[in-house]
Symmetry: C2
Subunit: 435 residues, 2 copies
């Protein structure tokens, strides 16, 4: 890990210190994804079979997972894991329910009722990666809010293993969250199938979930096409920023940094501390613990582009963190909550020594599909609202139109929109005549 | 207007009946916008001056509007118009305040506090078009929610007239909504300036507002670049769908259709009714009223791609409307509210004879920046939430970690993320030791 002193850096060096590993939208990636999308649009299921054979080395006769397969998966699933999935789903559901948007109604003037009503996005597509390992937790994080929102058709794609089966835990998570259809599809072809539809896969209105560079590029491409599908957010590699004071437990801090670093070689972890002693201790602990990990190689690659940064104070640490806008922000300080008000940009925040980031990944109840790569400056994590539309409604009585009609007519005239003005004035005239 | 009978159409004809006028992202448009963005990134203010001279025929010494210019604009503004802007702003503010997201906190287990806090997006850029006429109402619709959200820097761009000034009403609306900086910029160059920043224009995190094809293409391009800016939503031409029964007032319906048609030649208006008599009457009324409009030519072009469609019932009308997903949906039926529950996709809904769409454009209190072009299937209109991020926060006590730690560890193990598991288990071990 690189060791830096924030206050010894000039502006360019500060920018470099907080730079993410470059994500290329290289021409080859763009073109490759364009071709996959074009093939799926042209040849539907046949293209999906061929692409799965090529990329996932898996032969698919039937692309959809049958309910018998899900029964079998459930039967094979270890009871402890099943119970953990149930437990996580319950807490995710509890938090997402209270955080769901509520309808609103207000009379903004006498006789002018204005409302906001909520409607589920009809057809949504969930992508659950299975790169180095399948992610049943992601199925929960997407399936639970989709069910609370009331989406009428929830489709889930996850790549099959070489034996042609999907992961048991993913299938069980899909079942208990009420997913309607599961397909053995991964990569850009899964995104294309859900965005445009094929014989087997329903066309979806919005797509959700993390994925590799191909999946991300495919999501960007289909979201720029009005005939494609909306997406939850742009995605980049996972990342964590830890703020720790001199009272922080170096073993815990190192464990949190490593739990991010093991995600992938392009993950990024940053530690900010005003305490040189703590920075030293964490550096040594990271080395020690890293050696114990099965994914030590991946973690080491991630650590090579990661930073330990000395800052002058916890307040400065928060400023630097806001500038970075991390997906995950861990605050291991004696009074962690004192810093929360100053946090302006982050995906999810973890306060105190007993709140490892992994509880948020699985089962505290918050969502783990979060904005990465600086997108936390302008995007929020997935929530029930991500699966809904908010529709405004207005209803005026004749008295209401008399109340706000003149204001409307004045503004329409100023904007030289005569038909807008007349839609009001001819109604007001009708009211005069009737009176 | 084309007259169709929904129940006489096969599936292809139904699709054609609800097709929007094609919006090309033609190669020339894409390349032209790419070049403008590249120029602004390379040459900053100098590029903005040259592009404004070329496209807006306007010579800019200083790109930012001074507060003296805003004072002068306010002094020149007609008192009735000023009062109408104040009145509209007050109702927009009232509704947006009650519809703003609220913080949430819940203990999802003993000792596990999970929260959602709200933070304003720091720097936002608002685009206010001034194509055929400047749109002070758009300045209100963007400025009011930005202020309620508490954005720290609100930037507004609107093209100057040939005399080098911005519209008085736009400037006044910007002032009363607390916009921090106003720039005399239009088109793709305005979007590029706000997305990347120049010497004068601050770099913004998210851009809002409608615009022509160049503005829309520029927004798409900067939103696909992690170094660019997020955007409110993709945009297309404005549109209305009216559902009317045999009791509807044909004069009112025709006026509403025309108030959409006058927006631009590519606007689309659709009328659905189970009553042939009403369809006849509206067709005649549209002809009669259109002749009276200053923008009759524009309206006629829009009407040429618009449709009067006979349906079998009001329920079928709602089904067809949901399939179209209109930006504006007007329901002129005897019991309009009875249809509301069945409406699943629309930007904003107007119920009953006394609720012309233009009240929503200006001053009922709802927002007029709405999803068009079918995007209402998955997007919502602009609201306070559009200017905020929702950040989740979790804080566990030692008891909380004992409560949910085992579930976390089981799921982490299932996903082969050992460091995630260890971040929990080594804390649990420390608690054991301490106990």
């Amino acid at each position: 890990m690189n060791r830096l002193d924030w206050n010894a850096l000039d502006n360019a060096a500060r920018r470099a210190a907080l730079a993410r590993p470059a994500q290329s939208r290289a021409e080859t990636l763009r073109n490759g994804v364009e071709q996959i999308i074009a093939r799926v649009r042209a040849d539907g299921d046949q293209a999906l079979r061929e692409l799965s054979a090529r990329y996932d080395r898996c032969t698919l006769d039937v692309i959809e997972v049958s309910s018998q397969e899900i029964d079998e998966a459930e039967a094979r699933l270890a009871p402890t894991l099943k119970a953990a999935i149930d437990e996580a789903a319950a807490r995710i559901e509890a938090f997402h329910r209270v955080a769901a948007p509520q309808p609103v109604a207000l009379d903004t003037a006498r006789g002018v009722r204005v409302e906001r009503v909520l409607r589920a996005i009809n057809r949504v597509g969930l992508y659950v990666p299975a790169g180095s390992a399948p992610l049943p937790s992601t199925a929960l994080m997407l399936g639970v809010p989709a069910r609370i929102a009331g989406c009428t058709e929830v489709v889930l794609c996850s790549p099959a293993r070489a034996d042609g089966r999907c992961d048991e835990a993913v299938l069980y998570a899909a079942r208990i969250t009420g997913v309607h259809k599961v397909f053995k599809l991964g990569g850009a072809q899964a995104i294309a199938a859900m965005a445009y539809g094929t014989e087997s896969v329903p066309k979806c209105d919005k797509l959700f979930g993390p994925g590799n560079a191909w999946v991300t590029e495919a999501k960007l491409q289909v979201s720029a096409d009005p005939d494609g599908a909306a997406i939850d957010m742009p995605a980049g590699p996972s990342e964590v920023l830890v703020i720790a004071d001199d009272k922080a437990n170096a073993t815990f801090v190192a464990a949190d940094l490593l739990s991010q670093a093991e995600h992938g070689p392009d993950s990024q972890v940053i530690l900010l501390s005003p305490s040189p002693t703590l920075l030293d201790a964490v550096e040594a602990e990271v080395e020690r613990q890293c050696a114990l990990l099965p994914r030590a190689d991946i973690a080491r690659q991630a650590l090579s582009q990661s930073r330990l940064i000395a800052v002058s104070s916890l307040a400065q640490a928060v400023e630097v963190s806001n500038r970075y806008a991390p997906e995950h922000l861990i605050v291991q300080a004696e009074q962690p909550r004192d810093l929360l008000d100053a946090v302006t940009s982050a995906g999810s925040v973890f306060l105190g020594a007993w709140t490892p980031e992994s509880v948020g990944d699985y089962c505290s109840g918050s969502n783990h599909v979060l904005p990465t790569y600086g997108y936390a400056r302008s995007y929020s994590g997935v929530s029930v609202a991500s699966f809904q539309k908010q529709i405004t409604v207005q209803e005026l009585s004749p008295a209401g139109l008399r109340e706000i009609g003149p204001c409307t007519a004045t503004l329409a005239a100023a904007e030289q929109l005569e038909a807008h003005r007349r839609a009001v004035t001819l109604r007001l005239a009708a009211l005069e005549t009737a009176a």
